[in-house]
């Protein structure tokens, strides 16, 4: 496709009480355009996601108005946590088919400071991830639904709480090297295991954080760019279920399908990937995705993450910006940061956390309760 990722950027991240959703998104959009060497006036396509902190009847219209642009191609995309990776694909299709020349993808919100963390937890539990009539009345948290995945994975494959904790430790170690990350204090496995038990077997530090922030990237066919563009070599989607009871094998995710399609399209295999920016809403998510994407045999994910293998300097550095577990999680935009990091790793812009010689990156998004996935494989033109 004649469509490339030309610029990436983000707003201030973490706790930004003075910025509302549109201000955060504008900051991210301008940063991504600056990175591309383009301006708002160059944007003729716009993609965003819904937000939850305000009543936006048509999110993409609100964002276009807030940015002061009138794009000829626009859409609000929502495949839950897979939206970040899926946006790249949708934007690239719009550019490749000539619907737009330059698509701005931007999303984010003041998820942390708009409401209290308690209110966010309650809102997430009632927003429909659990069936409102048949499931929510029993009182599952969103983390409970992932805890069910973790418990089953432990039962089937012998995965341990220590192995899950290692995911949080490795990713926090990456956040410690990312000046923009929300949580940067290093962690140990003991810290994770001693953190508050939320919903067995998941502790507080097995769960994503809640942050303010927005992310943006620019997909274009233009050639007059500031930096060397990054190409989408392959993408794939995978869907298994909306509500968790529909999926009778919850230790395995739709990443099996999304990964298979993405690798086939790119003509590469998991062992060729230099850095994997994997969606990390919970520690178990990373372990299951590593298996399902083919980085290790099914059931070996717990052992795979041991021994520093997913840390910087390891065989497969994973989620090198610090992810949803430590860097930033502002809602549907969370998965966009994995794309941004993949682009920066390929450009060699990551400073202390640079994976030396990164030529091929994977970015993976997971949405719902492991039900919907979008995998991207990114490389140089």
């Amino acid at each position: 496709m004649n469509a490339f990722i030309a610029g990436v950027g983000e707003s201030p991240l973490g706790k930004t009480p003075n910025l509302n959703a549109i201000e955060l998104q504008r900051a991210a959009a301008l940063a991504a355009l600056e990175d591309a060497g383009l301006a708002l006036a160059d944007v003729d396509g716009l993609l965003t996601t819904p937000i939850r902190v305000a009543q936006w009847a048509m999110p993409v219209g609100m964002v276009a108005q807030g940015l002061g642009i009138r794009p000829g191609y626009l859409a609000t995309l929502d495949v839950a946590g897979a939206s970040g990776t899926a946006m790249v694909h949708h934007a690239a299709m719009a550019v490749a088919t000539g619907q737009a020349q330059t698509v701005l993808c931007v999303a984010g919100q003041n998820q942390l400071t708009n409401v209290s963390r308690d209110a966010t937890v309650a809102q997430l539990a009632s927003v429909g991830w659990a069936h409102p009539e048949y499931e929510a009345p029993y009182g599952p948290l969103i983390p409970t639904l992932y805890a069910l995945v973790a418990q089953r994975h432990m039962h089937e494959y012998g995965t341990t709480p220590e192995q899950m904790a290692e995911v949080a430790v490795a990713i926090r170690g990456h956040a410690a090297l990312n000046p923009l990350a929300h949580k940067r204090e290093p962690l140990t496995v003991a810290d994770v295991l001693n953190s508050k038990m939320i919903t067995t077997p998941l502790h507080l530090l097995d769960c994503a954080i809640v942050s303010d922030g927005a992310a943006a990237f620019v997909i274009t066919s233009r050639k007059d760019l500031k930096k060397k563009p990054i190409k989408v070599l392959g993408q794939g989607y995978g869907f298994t279920h909306a509500y968790i009871g529909e999926h009778d094998n919850i230790a395995t995710t739709g990443a099996v399908q999304s990964g298979r399609e993405a690798f086939a399209m790119a003509g590469v295999k998991p062992a060729d990937i230099d850095v994997a920016e994997i969606y990390d809403c919970f520690t178990i998510t990373v372990i299951a995705e590593l298996e399902d994407l083919g980085f290790c045999p099914k059931g070996e994910g717990g052992r795979f993450v041991e021994g520093g293998r997913i840390r910087l300097g390891g065989e497969l550095p994973v989620t090198t910006h610090g992810g949803l577990l430590s860097a930033v999680h502002p809602g549907l935009a969370g998965g966009m940061f994995h794309v941004i990091e993949a682009v920066r790793q390929l450009r060699g812009e990551c400073g202390e956390r640079q994976v030396q010689g990164a030529e091929l990156a994977l970015a993976h998004g997971n949405g719902g309760i492991i039900g919907i996935h979008c995998t991207l494989i990114l490389g140089h033109v």
Binding site: A125, Y138, G139, Q151
Partner: protein, 115 residues
């Protein structure tokens, strides 16, 4: 579409064409595509497919309940459903534990260990 779930008995949607149960309710049978569906009473037996003990209530409404056990129950008829396991201490719940249904005060099905 099916009428609302009955609250006097534990019922699941069942296809009158192929005879199989399913869950969640939907316009057509996921097994055969049949559209003649009705609430029907399964055995009420099943086992723990996965479980989690909730220590932090999602909202004040659940505060008095913690800790409580959320489980996916694999019914003997096949469908998986999210429910609570009651009548047993959370530490004793394990995958594979046999269960039988017990209707809560509001007619909501919960499960307890099979005696």
């Amino acid at each position: 579409m099916l009428p609302p779930r009955p609250t006097d008995k534990f019922m699941l949607p069942r296809c009158e064409d192929c005879g199989r149960f399913h869950f969640y309710p939907r316009p057509a049978c996921p097994h055969c595509g049949g559209a003649r569906l009705a609430w029907s009473e399964p055995s009420g037996r099943g086992e723990v497919y996965s479980h989690s003990t909730v220590h932090r209530a999602p909202s004040p409404a659940f505060k008095d309940d913690v800790p409580y056990v959320i489980a996916i129950v694999k019914t003997d008829e096949g469908p998986h459903l999210l429910s609570r396991v009651v009548g047993v201490s959370p530490e004793q719940v394990s995958i594979g534990m046999r269960l039988r249904v017990k209707l809560g005060g509001d007619g909501k099905p919960e499960f307890e260990p099979e005696v």
